[in-house]
Structures are given as structure tokens and as C-alpha cells.
Symmetry: C2
């Protein structure tokens, strides 16, 4: 079988021929139809992720057909069309992942390959209204967005939610989910075309956070958001505490702009703000996410599709943050 191998950090990934994967007891082999990229994959190639081990086949997102079973895996899965929950070993606490939690695609070999072996309990039937590429685009971003928005963020219909930095896989999923459940969504981006796309997808407002007046604009144009979902942090974090409605929530699932240089605790306590951290999601969150996607017939936004052998170009597109939606690898093309 073919696999995109990262031999060493800071080297390109290369397509290699390898022997068939062998499922351990309780595992199944999924013959992948499509995979999708996450920023995590890019960070690993740069050695900017804790505990990077190489060589490794990257890839947390995949959809395909179960082709072989390890010992003890239920025969019901054979030949089923599935998506894979990329969160392995969450544990028993719904509030937080266990110490042993890991994500498919480092250290365990992932989905940028013809085949991957995964524990059977990660499998879910793929949403029937999606094609293979959309199915593969869903898992990690869908799970992350669902937990941040619905579990940690507790979004309710009719609320106003601000999603900062629209464009990436999670942010576009947040937009889709929030619109689907009946929230008013405001987004930010420094890129005019991304702001335009977000408005087409149902955002009620789109602001340029590089404009020094953006907070004032947001205030004059929109209701104060009772929920803000952010993955940037950085020097402008204080603006979020200013903007959020009193009694509201700010959920962070990332920190791409660095740690905020201050936390305005007086504003935090006087406005009774909740700042909540979120990462990935539990098995229950994954199942609930699929249910939401099914109920509202939500389609992940696809940015571009690359063949598996162009994996390195796909990673470069991720590196430049030019994408709007998910970058997908078509595997059985």
C-alpha cells in the first residue's frame, strides 16, 4: 500500500510503498477513500508539536471502507463505509481527556495512506448525505468545533456568536454549526475574500481585525456576542473581554497568535465572564456532532482537493493559511 511518510521533521512528506498494515486485536483496517489535513499535521512536519516521533504517517481525518478485521473486532463493521473519530483514549471523564489521550496520525500512523489500522471503537457510519471528500473533512474539525461551540460554549438558538479568524477548518465548521442551530454569527478575518465567503455562508457580519476600529465597528453594527470562539489569543485578546456580552463566554481552542500579554481580571469578574478552554472532544461529543450534522444536513466547507501523491503541496497550502475550509486528500482517485 502507499503512504505519505514524514521521515524527519522539516523534510517534505514523500509517497512510499509499504507492506499492508496489520490490525492488532480489537482493531480494523480502513481502506481510505479520502483524508483531510489539519494544522496539527503541518506543525508536526515543523517539529512544533509536543513529542514528535518520526518516521510517521500523518493524518487524523479519514473516511473509507472497513476492509479487514483484527481479532475480536465485530464482523458487523466489515465493508461498512465509515468515518474515524481521531481521538484515542479520551477516558471516562466528560470534562477532560485522560493522560493517555492521543490523536490519530502521530505517534500512531494516520490516514495519509491507502489503509490505516484503528481501534474499532473509533468507527462511525459516515453521514449518508456527504460524499467521500466531505466525510473525510468532518472528523477532527467537526469534533473540535462541536465541543467548543456546543459543549464548552453551550450555544443556544438566538444567541449572537463571534468566531474569530474565519477560514480554517474548525472556524468554517463553527460557522456552519452555529448558523444551523439558529445563532447569529459574526466572523473576523484580515482577508476580504474570506469575509465575503463567510457572509455567503450565513454570517450576519464580517470584520477585519487588523482595522484598529474593528471593536468599535462590531459594537455599532451588531448585538454584543454572548459567546466568542477564539483560537488566536495574542495581543488583541483584551478586545474579546471588551466585546463579549456581560455574563457571556469566551471559548479558546487554540493560541496561534501567542499567549495574551495580560488578563483583565477586573473586567472578567465585573462582567461575570466565563473563559473556557476546549480541545478535541469526547466520544460522546463525536457522536453528538454526527447527529447535529445529520439533523441539519450540514456540509463541511472544502477548500481544495489534492491527490495523495501531492500531499506535500497540500501541506504547503496549510502552511500559508490561504485556505477557506478543509484541505482534502483524494486517495482512491
Amino acid at each position: 500500500m502507499r503512504a505519505l511518510l514524514l521521515q524527519n521533521v522539516k523534510e517534505p512528506v514523500t509517497l512510499q510503498s509499504r507492506g499492508d498494515v496489520q490490525p492488532s486485536p480489537g482493531e480494523v483496517v480502513v481502506r481510505l477513500q479520502a483524508a483531510a489535513l489539519n494544522r496539527r499535521d503541518y506543525w508536526i512536519t515543523q517539529g512544533m508539536y509536543p513529542g514528535v516521533r518520526t518516521p510517521v504517517v500523518l493524518g487524523s481525518d479519514g473516511a473509507g471502507v472497513v476492509s479487514r478485521l483484527g481479532k475480536g473486532a465485530s464482523e458487523n463493521w466489515l465493508n461498512q463505509e465509515v468515518v474515524i473519530n481521531p481521538g484515542i483514549g479520551w477516558g471516562d471523564d466528560v470534562r477532560v481527556q485522560s493522560e493517555g489521550f492521543e490523536i490519530l496520525g502521530m505517534p500512531r500512523d494516520g490516514t495519509f495512506a491507502d489503509e490505516t489500522a484503528v481501534p474499532a471503537d473509533l468507527l462511525h457510519p459516515r453521514p449518508t448525505h456527504l460524499d467521500w471528500q466531505q466525510s473525510a473533512a468532518l472528523p477532527l474539525a467537526g469534533l473540535t468545533a462541536y465541543r467548543a461551540l456546543m459543549v464548552q460554549g453551550e450555544l443556544k438558538a438566538g444567541e449572537t456568536v463571534l468566531v474569530t479568524g474565519i477560514g480554517g477548518g474548525v472556524a468554517t465548521m463553527l460557522l456552519r454549526f452555529a448558523v444551523a442551530v439558529g445563532a447569529e454569527v459574526i466572523v473576523t478575518s484580515s482577508d476580504a475574500s474570506k469575509r465575503e465567503r463567510a457572509l455567503q455562508l450565513g454570517a450576519v457580519g464580517a470584520l477585519d481585525y487588523t482595522d484598529s476600529e474593528w471593536v468599535k465597528q462590531c459594537r455599532s453594527l451588531h448585538k454584543a456576542p454572548s459567546l466568542i470562539i477564539d483560537s488566536a489569543g495574542g495581543p488583541d485578546y483584551g478586545s474579546l473581554l471588551e466585546l463579549v456580552k456581560s455574563g457571556g463566554r469566551i471559548v479558546n481552542y487554540g493560541c496561534t497568535a501567542g499567549a495574551p500579554p495580560q488578563l483583565d481580571l477586573i473586567r472578567l469578574f465585573w462582567k461575570q465572564i466565563h473563559i473556557v478552554g476546549s480541545t478535541m472532544g469526547s466520544p460522546d461529543d463525536f457522536a453528538s456532532m454526527l447527529e447535529l450534522v445529520h439533523r441539519h444536513q450540514i456540509e463541511p466547507v472544502i477548500d481544495q482537493v489534492f491527490p495523495l501523491e501531492a500531499g506535500d503541496s497540500a501541506l504547503k497550502r496549510m502552511a500559508n493559511s490561504d485556505q477557506f475550509g478543509k484541505i482534502v486528500l483524494d486517495i482512491q482517485s
Copy 2:
């Protein structure tokens, strides 16, 4: 009647004779038996509180007997022994106070006087197991502690909770409440005698936060706290994110050590931490606090009792932060 008057900020408060207070419609006059100090009173004397207006009679905490009724106030209150909820105009949202929210004792004249006029809906029968001084010590600190610990903090029996900076009125109330509901309480203080007092009151651990090893000590001696209640903030705030159990909560009701110089968002999201702001409490919170105090027969910790005419000395004791528990004014002595 006599009242402690703050004529101008940064001047001592002085005992003055004034005419009887006149209740507006819906108000009652409470003849005070005791009052208690809060840090807020001291800050107002220093002009370090937003919107200070003078002259004013300070004081948010009071207990006494209803002596006269304004128009429309229920006659059932006449001659009742009451404590006063110092939060005025919270509004309809349980999550956060309204824009019009204010606290008794600036701008409205407060409890450092023989009499005060308050809206009748702030009255509650005083806890029968407490004397007048204890009753007066309860309202603001009890309300603040209750909301931070039980509403925003959602403390459950069996949890480990860390209360930073034990000694003040709210912190000692937090200790009492948390012990009462069956939590294990760890405290911090730079003062050995305060640490000792906290252990006597049921804390399982007491650490000196000025010791550079205190985080390490806390880790080696105690279970990781799933809830931390802090009113300091400051440069050491990152230690709280380190110490808190994954999936846990940090509640802030103050910021006496200044805004934290950084927020470690990576730790926040990976540990799925909740940072929650809390200030004062709703009318429901006040009623629930009284119920908790009654159920567990909780007694506020009294630091020292001053006669009303020694109000300025009482404020000086607050300024020095030497107290352990509430500083009380005995009014009808």
C-alpha cells in the same frame, strides 16, 4: 441620629449628628445593631473605586430592627430583626447584574450609622443562631463567597478547593462554606498565624505563597484542586493554571495584586480549564446563602469589634490587611 460621614476622599470618617432618615416609598428604616466593614469601604475612602461621590455614609453590611416603614412597605416587617442584602437592582438575569446595579453604602448612604433606609426587598430575617455582630458580618462577604464558590464555582462535596489569600472577610467565609459542604480546603497566606487559624477552622493544608516552592509543596502534599477561588490575580496567576486539576475551575472575584501579566492559553485549552468571573450575587444567591448558613449553622469569623465612633480605626485595620475575618462595628453598645 449618628452617622460616620466621609466628607471627602482621603480624609478620616467622622461621627456626626444628623436628622432622622426618611424612607422613600417601598423603603423601610432599619435601626442598626451592628455593621461590618468591607475592603470596598476602605477603597472608597481612598478614592480608588469607580464613581466615588461624597459626602456619603459608608457601609454595605448591617443588621438591626425595622423601626419605620415608607409608603407601601409591608407592615409585616415592622419590629423584625433583619439582615440587609447589600446588592441593589441586580435585575432579571441570574448570570450577571444589570447596568443599574449598585451596592449599599455609596452612592446610597449605608450602614455605618444608627439608622439606614433601604428598599424593603433587600430585607431577610436574620439567622437565629447568630448574634448581632455575626449577623452584620454576614451579608456582603457571605453573598460574594456563596456566588463564587457555589454558583460560579459549582463546588460539590468531596472536591478539593484552594482558597488563595486567607484572612479577609470573603476568604474566611469561603473556608467556612467549603468545609461545611464537605470539601477539602487548602489555603494560602504569607502570614503564619493566619495559616494556623485556617487549619484550626478545618483547612487540610495551608501554604505560604511567598515561598518560591509553594506550588511544588502543594502538589506533593495535596490532591490537585478541582476548584480554585482567587481574588489576587497578579504575577503568580500562572501558578493557578498549573495547579488546578485538568477540567477544573478557577473563579476570580478580585484582583488585588493587579492584572496577571500573561494568560497561558495553551494550558487553558489543553487542560480544559474554566476561568470564571464572579462579583456580589443575585437576590436568589443571597437567599441560598442564608439557607446554607442556617442548614450548617455557620458562624462568620469575627476579627475585631469597634464601637461606631472608632470607625476610622476600624478602616485603618482594614487598610493594613492584618485582619482574620470580619471587622465589625457595634452600633447600639
